[in-house]
Amino acid sequence: MSRIVFWNVKRKDLTGAVCALAKSTAADVIVLNENMVSGSETLCALRSKVSPEFYIPAFISDKRFHCFCKNRKLDLSEIDSGLFRTSTRKYKLGNQIFLLVLIHGPDIRNYDAESRQSFVQELVRELNFVREDKKIDRLILLGDFNMNPYDRPMNLAAGLNAMMTRSCTAKGSRRHLGKDYEFYYNPMWGLLGDNTKGPAGTVYDTSNQGPYGWSMFDQVILHHTVVPFFQDVEIITEAGEHSFMDKNGHPDAKNASDHFPIIVDFMEK
């Protein structure tokens, strides 16, 4: 099994919490978004407090994502740096190769719905490019999309085409206006709302930017060929002595981040 943690730390120094998270989850890979602490400082802390095996996989640009890995067999080197907000990593699981695409979508406060839809079109072009150029279909999209699973660009055929259940993606693709679009599976649908074991989303906001209260901005989305390797995804609210949740059960923006981290498990076959 291989375990990846993703966390948008909102430009705060959460090194202690990151180390606790790495330790309590025994994650193989830690991906931090908006980490203002230098990669080498975080690495130093991870090595001294969690495991000396942590390293920084080769990268082209580390502006948006800091990636730390403790299993060299997984590789995780960056093989494509997108125009704005993506980083594609080679991810080896056993004798299978996947592409882990890290994503940070434009935020709601500074970009309107049209700009964010335009970002998804741009993203789809980038995904098509990496799939064709690297000749690998197995894409795992992970990050802060700044969109919910139910937002139109996430599930339009010409958008990310990300469906609610595994069985929705079983056909592999659907046809729209004479063109075939390959399915993605979005397991985050299963974590929305009250009837789940964890919180109802990863972000809580009741201002005009968060009309539903909870949002599921932090997501993992899988190309249909990756579904058999996917095991589980979970929203994390605490690690060791660190709680990421305030007294109301929302992300503790004051002492941690306004995003909860997510943890994704894959299994070798």
Binding site: F59, S81, Q96, E114, R125, N128
Partner: protein
């Protein structure tokens, strides 16, 4: 010297943005001794053509997207460039230009400016002129702006990082997807 002939226009220079990018591609291969090339990815929707330009380090097969070029279907000009890392909010752009054509209270201007930043479609209503420095009307202007886009520090950094890996490089292999 002609005073009525449109400035910057030459009937002998009618190359499309794609053809100009192909010239850039050849130049990159020559200048890098075959280590780097440009990959031109063309896609279209119902209104426009988008040419995304990726730099490719051939020995490692690693890529970085450098810029994209957008024009209307069947009309190569005017054409605009979206440089690397240009996708930042207007209020963070050093060169974002706002020119007022009508008088109004200071408060109304602030409100209209915020509205224009959050909703570019409102620009017309608030009577403001936003200049897009990356739009070209002619091939010669496009060449000039493309040169500037390739010379941005973001592009240079991406190319240097492509050719010299930072972090820890795990030995490359040629494993194919199984």
């Amino acid at each position: 010297m002609s005073i009525f002939w449109p400035e910057g226009l030459s009937v002998s220079d009618v190359r499309s943005p794609y053809e100009i990018l192909e010239n850039a591609q050849e130049e990159w291969e020559t200048a890098s001794d075959g280590v780097l090339t440009l990959v031109l990815q063309e896609s279209e929707d119902d209104k426009s053509i988008v040419i995304t330009v990726h730099a490719k380090h051939l020995p490692s097969n690693r890529t970085a997207t450098l810029l994209s070029v957008i024009h209307r279907l069947n009309e190569p000009y005017p054409v605009t460039i979206r440089p690397r890392d240009e996708n930042i909010p207007n209020f963070l752009k050093k060169s974002y230009q706002v020119s007022w054509t009508s008088a109004g209270s200071a408060a109304a201007k602030v409100v209209a400016e915020l509205e224009a930043i959050n909703n570019p479609m409102s620009i017309k209503e608030s009577q403001k002129l936003i200049t897009n420095k990356w739009v070209s009307d002619t091939p010669s202007e496009f060449r000039e702006k493309l040169t500037k886009a390739f010379n941005l520090s973001e592009v240079k950094a991406a190319v240097l990082n492509l050719t010299s890996s930072k972090g820890t490089l795990v030995d490359d292999d040629n494993e194919a997807q199984e």
